[in-house]
Symmetry: C2
Subunit: 420 residues, 2 copies
Amino acid sequence: MKSTSALLIDAGSAARFLFSANEASRNRALESIGRAVSEASAPVLAANAIDLAAARESGISAALLDRLMLDAGRLQKIADSLREVIALPDPLSEIRDIGERPNGLRVAKRRVPLGVLAVIYKARPNVTVEAASLAIKSGNAIVLRGGREALHSNAALVLAIRDGLQCASMPADCVQFVEDPSRQRVAELLGSRGKVDLAIARGGSELMAMVDACAQVPVMQHGQGITHVFVDKSADPMMAERIVLNAKTQRPGVCNALETLLVHQDLIASGALKAIAEALVRSRVELRADPEVAKALQRARIPCVAASEADFDTEFLALILAIRAVPSLDAALAHIAEHGTQHTASIVTADPKNAERFLREVDASCVLWNASTRFNDGGELGMGAEMGISTSKMHAFGPMGLRELTAEKFVVYGTGQVRR
Amino acid sequence: MKSTSALLIDAGSAARFLFSANEASRNRALESIGRAVSEASAPVLAANAIDLAAARESGISAALLDRLMLDAGRLQKIADSLREVIALPDPLSEIRDIGERPNGLRVAKRRVPLGVLAVIYKARPNVTVEAASLAIKSGNAIVLRGGREALHSNAALVLAIRDGLQCASMPADCVQFVEDPSRQRVAELLGSRGKVDLAIARGGSELMAMVDACAQVPVMQHGQGITHVFVDKSADPMMAERIVLNAKTQRPGVCNALETLLVHQDLIASGALKAIAEALVRSRVELRADPEVAKALQRARIPCVAASEADFDTEFLALILAIRAVPSLDAALAHIAEHGTQHTASIVTADPKNAERFLREVDASCVLWNASTRFNDGGELGMGAEMGISTSKMHAFGPMGLRELTAEKFVVYGTGQVRR
């Protein structure tokens, strides 16, 4: 097995190759990878069966088991996803004209790859192919370090990806896989300053703590999403119900799902809170309410439990919702500033002034007005596939698409200008 | 003296205040700072006299002494520079329309401050006011850690800046100064993950090594510039001479000054190399030449010394130039890939194809065609004042202006959309 340092030296060579690879050759490589993944169906599914057996033995949840599972249909969908990446506009063909200087210099900006990406992620094997394809499309070499549970599946997929690269006359080392699932390898990747241009960490609080403790390379953290909806007193009650229900229940296990609902206190008397709560309970959501809300729900015989302070700082990733009544927009903004994780926040209101203040003042990667928090997603925002959602503000804030895997250099066209 | 941790807590509070401060109030604060700096002339010059006396005693060079020195005229120029920052467009008023999604969602991006900046820099006291004003304009709190040599000057300037902030009803802690010049404080700033949103390190290789060893916060490194000019065989000889001379001698002590000249070997026979070398020697530049160039210069009785391999990896920051002859554009590109620091590279050529390849393939923050390397500068490229030049590709690559001190959040306007 290659050492991390050897792995990164080879990634560096592949990155230099990719720096000058044109759009046609990068797209050809993606096509070839799609074919290779499709043709590797038998070994990939056999490897996945090994992972599934081990996972069942270890007693992981049905939801996690489902995320890990591949079958012929899912694998074909993964192979087909390459075509979507091929269809995305080439970020490296983008040249932006900045303008002409008084001395006649023409200034432009042109996108360039970052170099070597290291992606640390968890059990879903489809991420392996997605991450590799976004890297190739953006001209970057990538080192993948997936979760222990999907080890055999990922190794088989990467073998196919590397076959595909070689068939397209690209260095196989454009995509490499860390087969050793130990934490030590993660620490080595995060500490390889100058050899990893960007690490992307997708995972839970344990991984984020590790990043905090030992990262010396630039890292984009896809951290937890304590996501808020504030239902203002002027909100259309039906719209509020629809948005809250969708944000909480459409896919509760993901980062842009709703975790804390703030309702204007006037909505208790108006009955709007009651309608929202009933809809949530019908969808089997456990409500954890602050005293004011709890009193109102109990009066209406809607089941709920008393929220602890910790509930307002928890990413449940499950059918559980914290609810708090607030007396004003200011109180809602203060709550989000204290408890939010700069991920996603939505306001439901008919008042444009309140909406504008909310959109301006909430410090989150995506702020929404009259829309579900579930839209904070690269595909939904029109960026195509994404590499995760950055909750740090450096380099990218929010969904990371192809552009976010590149930098811009200045290109200056002169006619002999010198500086006075 | 405040601990680093106390300093950063206060910076965090100030950053929250600035997050919602509108353009008018931020510009009013800058005006007020300009007035305060102007009025603090007596204490600032007295403090500078103390620094100058200590510097003279320690025997620093005349050039460094000049960088440190303030007088009434220079101080007024510093105070006046606030007006230029006020005149720059407000980065936080920028809203970019991204487009409408098929489901009717309108997507936009809006700039937000990063939060708390920490700037680590060297002896020039004007940087103190420049950095503080760019931070305020971009809505960020800033912690300044200047060099030991300018300690008293910087402390007096920051006192004036804080006075100015308070007169404009802004928290004084928007701008703080680390009065303890020990390395320990730099290490603490670089290690304060979650409290420093961006550290900007401007300095020599010693500071960069420290960043490499202990940075756990996002850092933009203004690293060394081993800057190249390649004079192609089709170059206009007069233009080449003018550009090389300007790049090397107009201000040799700065990062975008030329360090290595690559000449196409055909220019030896044509006499173009001789003309360039003569012009450089007339400007008292010491030439360190590879064997092929050295032989030609000796034949023409132009003084030069033999270049060592190390000369091609050295940022001289002085009237010294390494020269190498190369047989082709490919050889020039290979040399720059091996020895460049991703800072600045220029090609002088009449051949648009060679220019296009050079501009595309050189991996540097600024690539130029027929222009002096000295133009890699925020002001010269039309960005206004700059906070330094990033030689890393994360977040910003090249000169860092106001926009580079901000992030963009997604703003989504809906009419009740939920995700299917």
